[in-house]
Amino acid sequence: MLSLKDTAACLGMTGTISVLDDFYGFIDPTLPPDPTGATVSVSLLRELNLLQGEYFHVNIIRVGSDQFTSSELDEVDYSVYRIRNIYATRGIGVGRVEHYVITTAEANGLDSPTKKSQLRKLTNEWTVPNNGIDFFLVHNMNIPSGPGILLGYSNVNGPCGDKSPGILQLSGSTGGLWGSEQTSRTAAHELGHYMSLRHKNKVPTNLMCQSGNASSIRNSVNLTSDQEDDVRDHCFVTDWC
C-alpha cells in the first residue's frame, strides 16, 4: 500500500499535507458533528486502501459563500464525510475534495435560484478546470417543482474533459442546504446521477431513490452492484494511484 504522502502526491497534493483538511477535504480540520449526536470517526487506513482502487474527485463550490454560517459549514463537512462513507460501501474512493467559493456579489442572484434554468446557468457560467466533478452547493435554493421542491439537480452521466455539455444541460451537479442529513444524502445522490445513475424510486432504501420516496433520509443510501459497475464506468472515475 502507498503511504499517505505518496497517495497525496498521486492525487496531486503537494507541500505539507494536513490529514483532515487536505486529505479528507473538511473545511474545518476537525471531524464534523453528526446531527443525531452519534460519534463520528474516520479511518485513514480505509481511505488509503480505497485509493488503491477506483475513485473520483469532487470540487465543492459554495454559492453565496459569504452567507454560509459555521453550522452550514459543518453541514458541508458532514456531506464530505457521508459521501466518502456511502461510496466506500461499494469500494469506490473519493480522491481530492477541493473547496471553492462564489460570493453573493459574484453569483449575481444565482445564490437564490427559483428556477431550474438558473441552476443550469450557474453550472455553465462557472467551472473548475480540473478532473473533478463540480458540485455546486447553493445557499438559498428554493425551486418548487410540481407539489414539492427540488433538492438537487444534475445530469445523468455528466461530461468529463472541459465539462461543457449541450446548451440545455448542466456542467456539474447542484444541491441546496436542507440540514445535515438531507444535504449530505442529496449531495451523494446528485453525484450518483453525474456518474450515470438513474432513479430507483421503487427501492426506498437505495441512494438513488428520490428523498420523497426514501424510507429514511439517513439510512436510504444503499447502492447495488450494478450501480457500482455503472459508477466505475464513468469517465471521471479513475484508478491512477
Binding site: 452567507q67 473547496h99 471553492y100 467559493v101 453573493t104 459574484e106 442572484g109 444565482l110 437564490s112 435560484p113 427559483t114 428556477k115 431550474k116 434554468s117 438558473q118 443550469r120 455553465n124 457560467e125 462557472w126 467551472t127 473548475v128 478546470p129 445557499h139 438559498n140 428554493n142 418548487p144 417543482s145 410540481g146 407539489p147 414539492g148 421542491i149 427540488l150 433538492l151 438537487g152 439537480y153 444534475s154 445530469n155 445523468v156 452521466n157 455528466g158 461530461p159 461543457s164 455539455p165 449541450g166 446548451i167 440545455l168 444541460q169 456542467s171 444541491g175 436542507w178 440540514g179 438531507q182 444524502r185 446528485e190 438513474r198 432513479h199 428520490q210 428523498s211 420523497g212 433520509i217
Partner: protein, 327 residues
C-alpha cells in the same frame, strides 16, 4: 444525457407538521426545508406565518427569503403590502430578495416604490426583473440598455450549427400552457403562434401574447411590451414545462424596435432588433456575451399571428467560463 433531480413532495407532510418544524424548529425536517414545503401548502394562516418569518430580524436569512417568495406567490393585497413594507428592512440580502419577489407581483405601486432604491439593492438583475414588470404596464423607468449598447457575442468567432424548429400539435401546446399557468403565466397565449426548438439537452417553446395579433405588429413601435415567453422542457421525470425567458420589446430609431429575451433570474440573455414593414416584422436576435454562453443567431418573420424562424444557428462551443476562487 438527461437531467434528474432529488425531490421531496409536500404531500408527505401535514400543515401542522411543517409549521411545527418551520416555526418552532421541532421535528425531523430542518426549519428551512419545512418552510419551503409549507410555502407550497394552502392553509388559512399562511400569509400571517410568512409575514411573521419575513419580519423576524433574528430568523435565518434563508427562511426570510423563502417567506418573501411565498408572499409573492400568495399575491394578495396584504402579502404585497408586507413585501412593500419590507423594502425598509436594514438587511440588503433580504431586501434584494423582497425586490425579486415584488417583481413577480408587478403593478403600479410596486414600480413606484422600487424605482428609486439604492443600487446596492436594485442591482443589475433586480433592474431587469423590474423592467419586465414595467414593460408589462408600459410604465416609465427601468429602461433596458439600447441594442447598440449591449455586448453581443460575435458568432464569427465560433463554429456554428443549425438548430431545428418544428410546428407543435395542439395537445402538446395545451400541456405547455397548463404547466406555465401553474407557474403563474402572466400573458394571454396565442394558440396559433406556437413554435418549438429542438436543442441539445431539451426543447424550447415560444409562446406569444394574443394582443400581438389583435393589435398588429405596427403597434410595437408605439410602446414597450412583453410580447411572449420562452418555455423550456428539460426534466424527463416531472415532464413539466417552465417559463425560462420573457420576450420584451421597446421602440427604437428608424422604425426599428429593440427585442430582449430576459431570463427569470433577471439577465438579458439574448437581444436583437426588428423592423416592421406593413403587417410583417422581420427580426434577428443574438446571444449576449457572458461567461459560458453559446453564440446564437436567430432570424425570423412574424405576420398575422404566425411566427416563422428562417434560420437558427448556435455555436458548438461555449464562451470561456469563470473559475471560482479556492476557499
Amino acid at each position: 444525457m438527461n437531467l434528474y433531480g432529488d425531490y421531496i413532495s409536500t404531500e408527505k407532510f401535514t400543515v401542522e407538521e411543517l409549521r411545527t418544524a418551520a416555526l418552532k424548529g421541532r421535528g425531523d425536517l430542518s426549519p428551512l426545508l419545512a418552510l419551503r414545503l409549507l410555502a407550497l401548502k394552502d392553509y388559512a394562516e399562511k400569509e400571517p406565518d410568512m409575514r411573521y418569518v419575513l419580519q423576524s430580524p433574528d430568523a435565518d436569512p434563508g427562511l426570510r427569503l423563502t417567506a418573501a417568495q411565498s408572499l409573492a406567490s400568495i399575491g394578495s393585497d396584504a402579502a404585497r403590502q408586507t413585501l412593500l413594507d419590507a423594502l425598509d428592512l436594514p438587511d440588503a440580502v433580504i431586501v434584494r430578495g423582497v425586490v425579486a419577489a415584488l417583481a413577480r407581483i408587478g403593478g403600479d405601486e410596486v414600480l413606484r416604490r422600487t424605482r428609486h432604491l439604492a443600487p446596492s439593492v436594485l442591482n443589475d438583475t433586480a433592474r431587469v426583473q423590474m423592467a419586465r414588470a414595467a414593460y408589462e404596464l408600459n410604465d416609465e423607468g427601468f429602461d433596458l440598455p439600447k441594442h447598440g449598447e449591449l455586448p453581443i457575442l460575435d458568432p464569427s468567432q465560433f463554429e456554428m450549427q443549425p438548430v431545428p424548429s418544428e410546428a407543435v400539435s395542439a395537445r402538446v401546446f395545451t400541456k405547455v400552457l397548463t404547466d406555465l399557468e401553474l407557474g403563474g403565466l402572466r400573458l394571454n397565449p396565442d394558440k396559433e403562434a406556437r413554435l418549438k426548438l429542438k436543442c441539445k439537452g431539451g426543447d424550447l417553446f415560444v409562446v406569444l401574447d394574443k394582443s400581438l395579433k389583435a393589435e398588429g405588429v405596427e403597434t410595437l413601435g408605439q410602446r414597450r411590451r412583453v410580447v411572449g415567453v420562452v418555455a423550456e422542457f428539460e426534466e424527463v421525470e416531472t415532464e413539466q414545462w417552465e417559463t425560462a425567458y420573457h420576450i420584451l420589446t421597446q421602440p427604437s430609431e428608424n422604425d426599428r424596435l429593440d427585442i430582449y429575451v430576459v431570463s427569470e433570474g433577471g439577465e438579458i440573455a439574448y437581444a436583437g432588433q426588428g423592423k416592421t414593414s406593413g403587417k410583417q416584422l422581420n427580426f434577428t436576435i443574438r446571444a449576449i456575451n457572458r461567461p459560458g454562453a453559446h453564440a446564437a443567431v436567430i432570424e425570423g418573420v412574424y405576420q398575422d399571428g404566425q411566427i416563422q424562424l428562417t434560420s437558427i444557428t448556435v455555436s458548438t462551443q461555449r464562451q470561456q467560463r469563470r473559475i471560482p476562487q479556492r476557499g
